[in-house]
């Protein structure tokens, strides 16, 4: 069935090209791509999570394996194109831009269990669903994504989003749209806006910065920038994990007049007084040979608008599974995978894709795109009794929007090297129109092609 799907556009195109020599060459090139050979197996493969990673690998494996029993476990009926949330929250796209149906992307022959996973036992090799169904597996792919720990922000509740200047871009398409309404109202009159990021690992660490830039742009377009203060609360002493990008963003924030508060971690908000409370950890410094300790303290900042981003942790089912690192990211629960092969270090028949991986970088859809062929390679090789050869180098991409119409196409790896896709053509640290066009036009089709296992 999947093979037929692959041919469909070509058959349709053939009719269109009837008798046209010009089309012939194009068709020959398209049809000339040979697919990797199908591998016969009876392996039972369970995929936990039908987001970008789970759906992408389901399509890839369905096209590679013949006879495999592939089950994907996810109770979420909607598929969310999360890279679209920033555009929604900037009023450039409607909430529906990011919403599609999970089932629309899954290939035939893959069994979708429409329930959330409730338990994973890597020793017994079983996944249990919330409904009590027990699924035995030979191979497990963990693509659960992460949990936004809203309870980690005191006094905050998701029902507050879209009222009284409270926004939460990460929460979902509806909340992103509600955040836009608040940001739109705020930028009409100006005031104090608060941005920042949590102290945990997080998905798309560039998004909080982009939203700061976009709010600044709207204030300038509406002529209210001079009546406003934009405060960015950095969780540590940096704005971005990659040093060269950090310096660039610092320069841009300075240029835009963004007031940065270092080592401020959002603790809670008080809707009554419209204030946010930040924790500032203890600091030890050596001054004139003496250790000077500045004790931890709290600081309250009043706001007219705030984009709340909570701490991010692995879902409960993963934290309970025994797959997490014991000595790294303690309390966050990311799974213990090899950072090159994405294979679990203690359970070789377990792989991780996407946000859930306990690796130093790469909680983005762009990284998922690079995780997919690596996991496919190692899993299929293992089925064939061979060793996989592909490796993940930590590739992450962040189209850092700096205003509506411009972005910096920042791509980097584990070693903080910039790894531009178009070296010498698209400069990574320049605010460019082409990078914006890629974000606005090119990214979603590429993402969708990835979901279908084709990119």
């Amino acid at each position: 069935m999947f093979e037929q799907d692959q041919r469909k556009p070509i058959i349709a195109s053939r009719r269109g090209f009837l008798g046209l020599a010009a089309g012939g060459a194009l068709l020959a090139a398209g049809a000339g791509q040979t697919r990797a050979q199908m591998v016969q197996t009876k392996a039972r493969i369970v995929i936990v999570g039908a987001g970008a990673g789970g759906t992408g690998i389901a399509n890839k494996l369905a096209a590679r394996l013949s006879g495999a029993e592939i089950t994907i476990v996810d109770g979420r009926k909607q598929h969310w194109y999360q890279p679209g949330f920033t555009l929604i929250a900037a009023g450039l796209k409607p909430a529906s831009y990011s919403v599609s149906a999970t089932g629309d992307w899954l290939p035939q022959g893959v069994n979708w269990v429409e329930e959330y996973a409730a338990g994973i036992d890597p020793e017994a090799q079983t996944v249990t669903t919330e409904g009590g169904t027990k699924l035995d597996y030979d191979f497990l792919i963990v693509a659960s994504g992460l949990t936004l720990n809203w309870a980690g922000v005191e006094g905050f509740d998701l029902s507050m989003v879209g009222k009284d200047g409270i926004g939460a871009v990460y929460a979902g398409p509806e909340q992103a749209e509600a955040t836009w309404r608040e940001m739109d109202a705020f930028t009409d009159k100006g005031g104090v806006a608060l941005f920042g990021r949590p102290a945990t690992e997080m998905k798309c660490a560039g998004a909080p910065l982009k939203y700061t830039f976009l709010t600044d742009d709207y204030l300038r377009r509406k002529g209210t920038r001079e009546k406003s203060q934009l405060i960015y609360a950095a969780n540590n002493k940096a704005l971005f994990g990659v040093p060269i990008v950090n310096e660039k963003v610092k320069l841009l924030f300075n240029d835009r007049g963004v007031d940065v508060r270092w080592s401020h971690v959002l603790k809670g908000i008080d809707l009554g007084t419209k204030t946010a409370t930040y924790t500032i950890p203890e600091v030890q410094e050596i001054k004139d040979g003496q250790i000077v300790v500045t004790p931890a303290k709290e600081e309250k900042i009043a706001f007219d608008f705030i984009n709340v981003i909570p701490p991010m942790i692995a879902p409960q089912v993963i934290r309970d599974s025994g797959l997490s690192w014991a000595d790294k990211w303690v309390g966050q629960g990311w799974i213990e995978v090899d950072q090159s092969t994405l294979r679990h270090l203690r359970y070789p028949n377990v792989f991780g894709i996407g946000d859930i991986n306990g690796v130093p970088k790469g909680k983005t859809a762009a990284s998922v795109k690079w995780h997919l062929p690596v996991v496919e390679d190692h899993l299929v090789a293992m089925i064939e009794g061979k060793e996989g050869t592909q490796t993940f180098n930590g590739y992450t991409s962040c189209p850092m929007i700096t205003k509506i119409g411009r972005a910096m196409l920042i791509e980097f790896d584990y070693k903080d090297n910039l790894v531009p896709s178009f070296p010498g053509v698209i400069a990574p640290l320049e605010e460019l129109w082409i990078s914006w066009l890629m974000k606005e036009i090119g990214l979603k089709p590429t993402y969708n092609a990835m979901l279908r296992g084709k990119a």
Binding site: K403, W433, E440, K454
Partner: protein, 115 residues
């Protein structure tokens, strides 16, 4: 981007426009190109008068293409940020200009007899 193969590019464009529309546009472009080649071969010469009209249409094609890109995106002239942006802008204009010129030449040739 990990690897930008021709197959990946086709998949991305299919997602961008929808499979039907994309292949319709490819067929349309191929059809117009084939019709252009057809009239060239049929007439066995490039008609300078038709070519002149086609050339006169080029600036309109160039402007239309650029305005189209600005319309479908949230961006405009002030977003040009570096040399590559200027190259892209000129590229879009060039595609619009050449595309319209070919269309105008072919349409003239097909509607009127050779001459």
């Amino acid at each position: 981007m990990k690897e930008l193969t021709f197959e990946t590019l086709l998949a991305v464009f299919e997602e961008m426009f929808g499979s039907g529309l994309f292949w319709f546009m490819v067929a349309l472009a191929a059809g117009i190109t084939a019709a252009y080649l057809y009239v060239l071969i049929r007439d066995r010469a490039l008609s300078m008068r038709k070519f002149l009209v086609a050339q006169l249409s080029m600036p309109f094609g160039a402007i239309a293409a650029v305005v189209f890109v600005w319309q479908i995106t949230n961006s405009g002239l002030s977003d040009i940020g570096g040399p590559v942006d200027v190259i892209i802008l000129l590229g879009v204009a060039a595609i619009g200009a050449v595309g319209l010129a070919i269309l105008v030449y072919t349409a003239q040739s097909l509607l009127r007899k050779a001459g």
